[in-house]
Structures are given as C-alpha cells and as structure tokens.
C-alpha cells in the first residue's frame, strides 16, 4: 500500500481543531490513530498509559465494531464508545482512515463529547481527505533510499548480522 507523510503544515490545521475540542469538552486528551494502529498525534494529557498499545487496541476495536455493524446490516459505523469506570473513550472515524479518540472523565459527559467531536470530525475529515488525495503523487526522494539503507543496517545490527 502507498505510504503517506504528514508534514508540519498538515499538523497546524489539525492542532487547532483538537485544541478546540479539548477546550470545549473539558476532555483529558484527544488522539488521532491511523486505521492500521499507528498513533499520528496527541493533544492533552496522556502520559500515564502506553500510547503505542492504546493506538493498536483502538484501531482493532474500531475495525471489529465496523465488522459487527456490517453483520447487523449497516454499511459502516461512525463511532465507538468505551465506557469505563474512571475514564471513557469516544472514537470516531475520519476520512475512512483516521480514528479520532477523545478520552474523558467525569468532568465531561458523553453527550457533550459526542456533539463536539462530531463537529470537529467534519473539519478534520476535509483536512485528511485532501491529504490522502496526494497519495502516490510524489516520487520517492534520494533521502528515502538513504533512510531505507541505514534502517536496513540497523535491522542487521539488531538481529545479529
């Protein structure tokens, strides 16, 4: 599958939307996770849990729920809610490829998070769709080849050649 790259310019628009979402919901943190399970960016507080494991579980959870939804006769799913005792997570799909997860506690409510996250999703959906339109439009640069060669040497070193 094609690779995709996020540059600082892409993050400016994203940061603004995530910051507003945090402010208006009093949520603890917002995370953007690629559907493959990779963390893209985080806004807010998240230092007390394993963000890498979080991203992989969120992606798997969302995809599993999408399959469940299809079994129930729906073509797709918009959001998944994880309602915990101390913290909850509201996850919503953007541009068919990115999952926006809002983590909140009792200082906020699911209704408020759902409302504000839906509005934020409309804005971010456009940002990511424009980004994905460019997939495959830029040729590989020399830097990518050099990176791949250097990473290959690190792989050899790690696995003992």
């Amino acid at each position: 599958m094609p690779q995709w790259t996020l540059f600082e310019n892409d993050f400016r628009a994203i940061d603004q939307v995530l910051y507003e979402l945090l402010e208006k919901t009093n949520a603890l943190s917002v995370h953007l996770v690629d559907r493959s399970g990779q963390l893209i960016t985080t806004s807010g507080r998240s230092s007390d849990f394993d963000a890498t494991a979080f991203a992989s579980l969120v992606a798997a959870d969302f995809t599993a729920n999408a399959e469940l939804s299809q079994l129930m006769g729906d073509a797709s799913i918009d959001a998944v809610v994880n309602e915990g005792k101390s913290r909850s997570v509201y996850s919503r799909m953007l541009a068919d490829r990115v999952i926006m997860c809002t983590v909140f506690d009792r200082r906020s409510t699911l209704g408020l998070v759902r409302l504000r996250a839906s509005r934020a999703a409309v804005e971010l959906d456009g940002v990511f769709r424009k980004l994905f339109e460019k997939v495959g439009m830029v040729e590989t640069g020399r830097g990518t080849s050099e990176y791949a060669a250097a990473a290959g040497r690190e792989v050899d070193a790690l696995f003992g050649e």
Partner: protein
C-alpha cells in the same frame, strides 16, 4: 501502509504474521519479546482466550532506534488462525506493510496451510489491495516446526505455498530457531519497498 510523521520524526511499519491455527505465530512474537533487549521492544499485547488461543491478535512493537533522524518502529501483529475468525483476521490486516506466512510442517497440517494461504489471498483483495499492490507486497515464508517427526519436506512446502520464490526460512519457533532471521528478512523487504515506492507529501 507506512506512516511518516515529520512532527514526531517517526516512521512506523506494520507487519502481520499469518497462518493456520497453532502454526506458531504467537510463539514467534513471544520468542522475539524474550530475545530483544527491553529498550528495543514494547509490551506484548495478547488478546487471547482462557486457553491461550489468539482471540483477536497479538501485538509487539519493536523500536529500531533513530535512523537518519527518524525514530523507526516495526509493529508486529498476529492474526487468530482458526477458520471461523475470518472477520477478525481481516481487521488485523488493515494497513499492513509486509506479511510473514507461517506454515506448519506437520504432515497433518498440509491442507490447513493451503486453506490459510487461500484465505489470505481473499482477505487481501477484500481489504482493497489492487493486483499491483498484491504483487509488490513484501512477503516472507517461514516453515515452522521443522523438529516434528516426518516433517513435510521443504521442497514440498515450497511447491505448494511459495512457487514464486519469496524469501523463506526453516524454523522451530518454540526454541527460537529461525525467528530472528524471518523478522530480519521481512523488515528489510519492507524497507526496500519504501525506497522503491512513491510517498505522499504535502508541503
């Protein structure tokens, strides 16, 4: 699908271990987790049944360190091998960058290997990979359980599963044999693909 994050200066790759039930996919990840230094690997996450059969997936992140200014990570996943977890397997395959097909060398599992490979082909089409993307997808085959009595000869496994001659390795994952070699091979194949393929950029 490799994600290149210029803000975090990170590049992530997703590698999926596929194969029939009990072929040794989870054992591969467990041995890698045991073998790698703690600073190079994250937590091994397993969503398994009470009987230690994979229910959804296993996940092991491996940190290659900083390469040319980018923190580089390989995220390893396994799928549940049992036939009826078809939908769960499809979920795990989303966004993959490389595949390790683990074959069971036990003579009684020849049909299961073939069925799993056929299922994988169907799943890859279902998640939207084009014929060109399928052709370019990095693959490595691992012939596991080479220590079982009357193990199926490698030539026979190759003929049945790997006629295109993708890189292949014999292994006894329970003892850690062939596990690192397999991972090294797929990591390098994925990196070679990165160097060869177009990337998305937005300035």
């Amino acid at each position: 699908m490799a994600l290149i994050n210029h803000r975090a200066r990170e590049i992530h790759f997703k590698i999926v271990y596929y194969g029939c039930g009990l072929c040794g996919k989870t054992t591969n990840l467990k041995r890698l987790h045991d073998r790698l230094p703690p600073e190079r690997r994250g937590r091994l996450v397993s969503i398994a049944t009470d009987h230690e059969r994979t229910l959804f997936f296993d996940f092991l992140p491996i940190d290659l360190g900083e390469v040319n200014g980018f923190k580089t990570r390989f995220h390893l996943y396994t799928v549940p091998g049992q036939v009826y977890y078809r939908l769960s397997r499809r979920a795990v395959l989303q966004g993959l960058d490389g595949l390790v097909f683990v074959a069971d060398s036990h003579p009684a599992r020849e049909d299961a290997n073939m069925a799993s490979l056929a299922d994988l082909g169907t799943q890859l089409v279902t998640i939207g990979l084009s014929p060109d993307q399928l052709r370019r997808m990095p693959w490595v085959f691992q012939y596991n359980k080479r220590d079982v009595p009357a193990a199926v000869p490698v030539e026979r496994l190759r003929l049945a599963l790997n006629p295109r001659g993708a890189p292949e390795f014999e292994s006894v994952a329970s003892e850690g044999r062939g596990v690192s070699e397999t991972l090294r091979s797929i990591c390098k194949a994925v990196l070679a693909r990165l160097a060869a393929d177009p990337v998305t950029a937005s300035a």
